[in-house]
Symmetry: C2
Amino acid sequence: MKRKVTLKQIARELDVSISTVSKALRNSIEISEDTRQKVKAFAKLYNYRPNNIALSLKNRKTKTIGVIIPEIVHHFFSNVIRGIEQVANNRGYNVIIGLSNESFSKEVINMEMLANGSIDGFILSISKETLLRQDYHHFNETINQGMPIVLFDRAVEEINCDKIIVDDVKGSKKAVEKLISNGCKNIGIITTKDYVSVGRLRTQGYIAALEDSKIHPKASLILKIDVELDSEDHLEDLENEIEQFFNNNKHIDGIFAVNELYAITAMKVARKKGIKMPDKLQIIGFTDGVLSKHATPSLTTVSQHAQKMGEKAADLLIDRLELDIDNEVEEEHYKTIVIETELIERESTK
Amino acid sequence: MKRKVTLKQIARELDVSISTVSKALRNSIEISEDTRQKVKAFAKLYNYRPNNIALSLKNRKTKTIGVIIPEIVHHFFSNVIRGIEQVANNRGYNVIIGLSNESFSKEVINMEMLANGSIDGFILSISKETLLRQDYHHFNETINQGMPIVLFDRAVEEINCDKIIVDDVKGSKKAVEKLISNGCKNIGIITTKDYVSVGRLRTQGYIAALEDSKIHPKASLILKIDVELDSEDHLEDLENEIEQFFNNNKHIDGIFAVNELYAITAMKVARKKGIKMPDKLQIIGFTDGVLSKHATPSLTTVSQHAQKMGEKAADLLIDRLELDIDNEVEEEHYKTIVIETELIERESTK
DNA sequence: TTTCAACACGAAAACGTTTTCGTAAATAAT
DNA sequence: ATTATTTACGAAAACGTTTTCGTGTTGAAA
């Protein structure tokens, strides 16, 4: 087992100084052609590679970005990661992942773990618990210490930084408009409680679409699910709640669900009740995941372009990191990029 | 914007040496109660946190593990990551992710990027292209340099290291036996080409189950799909191939598919052809993902306990890392842990 | 022969820690 | 009053790099 070789070892073997070795390898003109060749040959033979940690310490940057997401077993988030990873790698950066599990304290701990020099900047999506508490001090402190953050998808105004978001209102509005133009008269929405920003915004879009068409939104047609039912363990409770929703709204003929799980579960309940789709009931979901594509009938959905979000987020962060280097001015002009949604029509709508 | 404070700065402010500050913060008895308090108060005020990079350089370990997987937008892999992340975090380690995208060169590049000091050890699953080439030099070189590797799921004999695998043969055999005991007479398998080890092994299990029941395996009932059709872009080709398979085997009444996609697609084709499930056709898949759970009919499947695999892999790697420290002996006794599969029965079987 | 560049290289500092060792001052023992 | 022992701290090395600056040698110019 041959340990990794260092400059010092090469220097000793070749009876030159460390500086000479370093310079030779970096093709400095200070070094004679002769020794340069000699050093390079030796380095190649022993497969020398500069130690990243030492470089990070010296350069005071790690070429690594930290990503903290609420959940990884989730089509949307894993797609975002894929996007991040792709551009990060292309631009010479590594990606280090932390999972908050939708928990405030895990989010804080994870951030602290990474913020002490391990990374150059963060890309993250806020956990539900944090959103509920509205306690954003850890983000602002991190930013204050000079570590840039890019927020994606779940962002809030209280944090001053770059953001990549989806136009939830507009995307939802388009979806509901589609249902209206497809002839639906009683359109319901299955959404989250209001403190989850995406739920709130998508509900706004739903209401806006109805009002634009002079339809009065009915409270009974709005079902707000508690986040606790999101987990796979509470699938049955979710199902029961949605079934109740159907029972309370006998004439419902269109449903807009703010995420894939709600949409799929609604479809399952409808099927159980013998409601034909899309004839008697049309459904549109949000987030283009694997479930939507493979459901029966396949689900019409609002795609968020998750991978593109990841790519943009990484580009934005790296741009800022590399801008800070040259231009040490407080260029505190934060951007918010809105990714356009796209309505992907499948079999669950006419 | 206040930059991160260092020992040196604290030392200067308090007019003591760096050593004193360091010792005071670590509660050394060499330091008087008086100065200890003073230093701690100051450090707390300025929110001092030791720089991770400097610590890594000094300790020659990073407390970070590198994970390289072929694909992240995949229920199985993201579940493994979740498991890894959970135990890694509990044991004080970070997780850095690399994606090979099933490509040999990306796998090599990613490994090189991380192997130069950024991490203490690897957890990885081999890319399909690497498996096809059978070129494992990069793994063996990494191991030779003293960096431990834990392979999971897709492992090969040629690499000498710890492994976490699933008993593919046994799991598949159980699944096919289930089909047989459920009365299926013509059981087909949809699998991959043989160089994908999991496909090969699962096919072995299929054949073994048949032979145990004195059923002669028929070549026409074995469909080996090319990996290129796995991607979401070639969904139609895959569908066509499976449809052809049905046409060639009119009396097929049971299907074992080696992954979720093949199973779901087979179900879709069957539904299109008006074949009732599970009455006329029973299907079992491999890998317990979201698709299986939410399909109609929901899919009976062989669960691999992905998250547990991740947890075991992380434990195994960290155990080795922390054993190497005390016990510098070449304790080259590599383990292979087999995770038991579990047949989860749902609606696609009787 | 003296002066001056050009050349080729090495010493040392710096990044931020931890830790070993040395030592001045204060206290205790003789 | 002398010696021994604590006590409390600082200097320096080490981890592995890069880079600035200084310097001894050479060969050419004066």
